[in-house]
């Protein structure tokens, strides 16, 4: 695992420096503008997209085939796609939260920290959990098409729920914030676990 972590960090620093720059830019915008807290979510999405980028890059270079000759299991190979992106997302969330608290304390503003942090965890973590197994399973050419179809289905489902499930939404709005957040985070954790399991199955089934 250490070897793969080392390899992914080198790739991030050498090939995807623009991602780091974008994240810093988005965080600065999010922290410096009064109503731009959501830019923190964009920053997380950049790191979330790194997972799919890693899978695609390994496929294009042929490294995903070479890995099968190394003394590592499918679980280790797949875990390497999760560790750096989720670690970076976690670090970004933590740094953003600390920075936002400092900014709020000094600016005495009504800076929305908790909703932003909530979205920074739920949305990118969930989307990354969906992206990785799809990219492993369908490959770098078909995966974007499948993801687009899934996004359309998810948006359609959400729209349907909004228009037809008004009482459910009202109940959710009345729920205790801490409970709501805890349930959401648990659901995201479960989604990541299911995603990892599906990714391992997809990786192991990829023999010709």
């Amino acid at each position: 695992m250490k070897g793969f972590f080392y390899k992914n960090v080198i790739e991030l620093l050498r090939q995807y420096r623009w991602m780091l720059a974008m994240v810093v830019l988005f965080l600065v915008v999010g922290l410096s503008q009064k109503n731009a807290a959501y830019w923190g979510v964009y920053a997380e999405m950049v790191f979330g997209s790194f997972a799919g980028t890693l899978v695609r890059s390994d496929e294009v270079s042929g490294w995903n085939q070479y890995v099968r000759l190394l003394p590592i299991s499918g679980k280790t190979a797949v875990s390497s796609f999760y560790i750096v992106p989720y670690l970076m997302m976690g670090v970004t969330t933590a740094l953003y939260t600390i920075a936002a608290l400092i900014v709020r304390a000094y600016s005495h503003g009504t800076y929305l920290i908790f909703p932003t942090v909530y979205l920074m965890i739920v949305l990118p973590f969930l989307i990354t959990a969906i992206t990785i197994p799809i990219t492993i399973w369908f490959g770098s050419v078909k995966a974007p098409v499948v993801q687009m179809i899934l996004v359309v289905l998810m948006v359609a489902t959400a729209m349907f729920a909004l228009t037809n499930g008004a009482d459910v939404i009202a109940r959710l709005m009345n729920m205790n914030v801490v409970v709501f957040a805890a349930v959401s985070f648990a659901a995201v954790a479960a989604a990541v676990a299911v995603s990892w399991f599906l990714s391992v199955r997809a990786w192991e089934s990829k023999k010709i």
Partner: protein, 281 residues
């Protein structure tokens, strides 16, 4: 014990089939796999490495069925495929460091020695390497974790003659340990003739023969003779022939009849071409 045993292995693709291939690689030896493009060499190697699923048959590596499906066993196997696919943006030293974290018996001293001996660039990323340098780095990675068996698929192609010669010496040195073995495929038959103990001919998914190289060269000979002498040879002993207009050139089995004629040594490449085409070029 045999390092590799392949028994009646079949693998079918849409336009190609590997058909009941059986061969054996004894410990302490080098087996050369010869075949034209599309003969099935890479398919066979991929099946041995568990990169592809066989339809029928058995593959054992050091007596273990489907050994390569066990991750820890891959510590014992060094592999160089025809395309070396290391991380493109890493440099040679970084790749060595990464491999050191992956292989339990990684030897950084051996790796550094091979980087220096094979003159592998230290300051470039892998994606900027020439094909030859990529191969050399792949070979360095394969040799630096003290494997018991090496599997090389066209590993010498793209290398200059000097480096190929050095590499063949490294491979011969590797098999001085009687528990080691090498399976290598190559189009450069002269390399196989120099290094290999066994030769296997693959043609259109079928194994034409698998034999000790020295015995193979003893079994066959090249003959230039008159038509009268040619008529004396049994058709079953004629592997390939050509009418020059002045006489006959042919490759024949060494028998009591042919030994009486002026048989010349035949090369592996000539033998293979004749077995595939049926006639001399």
């Amino acid at each position: 014990m045999n390092a590799i045993e392949v028994r009646n292995v079949c693998k079918a693709y849409q336009n190609f089939q590997l058909d009941h291939v059986s061969l054996t690689l004894p410990e302490g030896t080098i087996l050369g796999l010869v075949g034209e493009n599309g003969a099935g060499k890479t398919t066979l190697i991929r099946l041995i490495l568990d990169l592809a699923r066989k339809d029928v048959g058995e593959i054992q590596v050091y007596g273990k069925d489907d050994a390569m499906s066990v991750p820890s066993f891959r510590n014992e196997v060094g592999v160089v495929l025809d395309e070396v696919s290391l991380p493109p943006v890493m440099k040679a030293a970084e790749i060595g460091k990464m491999m050191g974290m992956i292989y339990s018996a990684w030897d950084q001293v051996v790796y550094d020695g091979l980087l220096s001996g094979l003159k592998i660039p230290q300051d470039k990323c892998f994606k900027d390497f020439s094909r030859g340098n990529k191969m050399k780095l792949g070979i360095a990675c394969a040799l630096s974790h003290h494997p018991k068996i090496l599997i090389l698929d066209e590993a010498t192609s793209g290398l200059d003659p000097v480096v190929r010669d050095e590499l063949l010496d490294i491979l011969l040195d590797f098999t001085r340990d009687e528990s080691h073995a090498i399976l290598m495929s190559s189009h450069i038959v002269s390399d196989l003739e120099k290094a290999c103990d066994y030769i296997a001919f693959l043609h259109e998914g079928k194994l034409l023969l698998s034999e000790e190289k020295d015995r193979l060269l003893e079994m066959y000979g090249k003959l230039v003779c008159s038509r009268e002498d040619f008529e004396k040879i049994s058709p079953e002993d004629i592997i390939g022939k050509r009418d020059t207009g002045y006489g006959m050139q042919c490759i024949v089995k060494r028998t009591d009849v042919t030994r009486g004629l002026n048989l010349q040594p035949v090369g592996i490449e000539e033998l293979f071409v004749v077995m595939v085409k049926g006639d001399l070029a």
